[in-house]
Subunit: 206 residues, 2 copies
DNA sequence: TCGACTGTAGACCGATCTGTTTCCCCTGTC
DNA sequence: GACAGGGGAAACAGATCGGTCTACAGTCGA
C-alpha cells in the first residue's frame, strides 16, 4: 500500500478534502457563480488535480453539499439519545438554527441557497440539496408521529416552511429572529396537540 | 416636441420598457447571472442603447425589480375597497400567492430570489428588493393593528416568515402548497386572536 | 540512482462576461 | 433633397469563465 494517507496527521488534508472544504465555504459565502480558478486557489490545489478528482465544477459543488450534510445534521438535529420528548426534539432544531443565524456570516440554509441559485431542480447539486433537506423533514415527521399527531405529514411540511422562511429571512439580513422561528414552530405543535412532556396545551400567546 | 413617444399606441413600447420587461423575465427565470447580451437580444435593444439608458447591468436589475413592484402588489394585496375584514385581507395574500405558485414557471418571490443570489444586502438591487418586501410587511402590520392584535409587529414578522418559506419551497419545486401557507397563516392569526368577521376563535386543527 | 506516481504551477483554448465604440439605417423636419 | 438624431447591428477590448494540457518538484519503493 502506498502512503497516500500519511499515518501521522501532519500539516494539511489531501487535495480532495481541501477542495471540498474550500468549495463549501466559497460557494456558500459568494454563491455558486464562484469560478474554479478562485476555488482552486483557495484550496491550494491545481486545476489539473481538481479535474482529475471531479468531472467538473458541478460535481465539486454537489460533493461539497454532500460533505456538509453530516456536520450540519450534527449541529441542527438533536442527538438520538438526548431528550425523548418529541416537542423538545423538534424545537431543538429551531433553537440551534437561530443560534447559527445570529452569527456573523450567516447566509441561510446552504441547500436552499443552492437550489434558489441554480433554479434547475434536475441539477445534480439541486438533487443533493433536496435529498439532504429531506432528512430534516424526516426528523420532523418522525417526531410528529411519535407524538401521535393526527396529521404528522402536515406538521412536518408546516415546520419546513417555518424553517426555510426563517433561515432565509435571517440569511438575507431582513430578520433577527429572537425566538421568532421557535415561537412559530411551537404554534404549529400546539395546533397539532403536540405538547411538552408534562406541559399543558395551547398556551402560546400571539 | 420631437415624437419620441408616438401619440398612437402602435407596435412596441420604447427601448427602456422593453429592456425592463425582458430583464424582469430573464433575471427571474434564469437568475441574475444572465448576461447583458442575452438580455439585450431578448429585449430587441442594442447594448449601445442599454448603456445609454442605464449605468450598467446592476442598475437594469434594480430598475426591473422596481418596475415589477406595482403589478405584483396589485396581484397579491387586496384592493383597498375589497373586504374590510382584516383576517380576510391577510389570508387573501396567501391565497393569491398559492395560486401563482401553482402555475408552471413559478420560481418563488423574485425579491427573495434576487437577495439570495446577490448575497450582498448593500447591492442596489438588494436594497430595492428589501424595500418592496417591506410593503407586504406593512400590509400585514396594518391589518394586524386594525384587528387589535396585542403584538401586531410579531404577527407581521411571523406572516412574512410563512410567506417567504412557503413561496421559496414552492419555487424550488419542493412543495405543492394546497392551502399549506394559508393554513399556517390562519394559525398565526388564531394565536393572535384575529378572528374572522363573525367567526369563532381557535378552531384550526393541526 | 532510477523510474513511477502524485500533485502544483500555470500557460493555453474557445467561449462568454461587462462595457465601449463604430457604422449605418431610418425617421421626422425643414 | 439635406440633415440631425435615435437606435439597432455588431466589432472590439480586457477580463474571466470552465476545462485541458505541459512542465516540473517532491516522494515513494527498489
Amino acid at each position: 500500500m502506498t502512503m497516500t494517507t500519511p499515518g501521522s496527521a501532519q500539516a494539511k488534508p489531501p487535495p480532495r478534502e481541501r477542495l471540498l472544504d474550500a468549495a463549501a465555504d466559497l460557494f456558500y459565502r459568494r454563491g455558486t457563480a464562484t469560478g474554479v480558478d478562485a476555488l482552486c486557489k483557495a484550496a491550494g490545489v491545481s486545476k489539473r488535480s481538481m479535474y482529475q478528482l471531479f468531472a467538473g465544477k458541478d460535481e465539486v459543488l454537489a460533493a461539497a453539499l454532500e460533505r456538509i450534510g453530516p456536520p450540519l445534521e450534527a449541529a441542527l438535529l438533536p442527538p438520538p439519545d438526548a431528550p425523548a420528548d418529541p416537542r423538545a426534539r423538534i424545537l431543538y432544531v429551531f433553537e440551534r438554527m437561530e443560534e447559527a443565524a445570529a452569527q456573523a456570516g450567516y447566509h441561510g440554509c446552504p441547500y436552499l441557497s443552492a437550489q434558489v441559485e441554480l433554479k434547475d431542480p434536475a441539477h445534480q447539486a439541486s438533487v443533493v440539496a433536496a435529498r439532504n433537506k429531506q432528512q430534516m423533514t424526516a426528523h420532523f415527521l418522525t417526531e410528529a408521529e411519535r407524538a401521535g399527531a393526527a396529521d404528522p405529514e402536515l406538521v412536518a411540511r408546516r415546520l419546513m416552511v417555518v424553517y426555510d422562511g426563517a433561515s432565509a429571512r435571517a440569511g438575507i439580513g431582513s430578520e433577527h429572529l429572537d425566538g421568532l422561528s421557535a415561537g412559530l414552530a411551537a404554534l404549529v405543535l400546539d395546533a397539532a396537540g403536540i405538547t411538552g412532556a408534562g406541559a399543558a396545551g395551547s398556551g402560546a400567546a400571539g
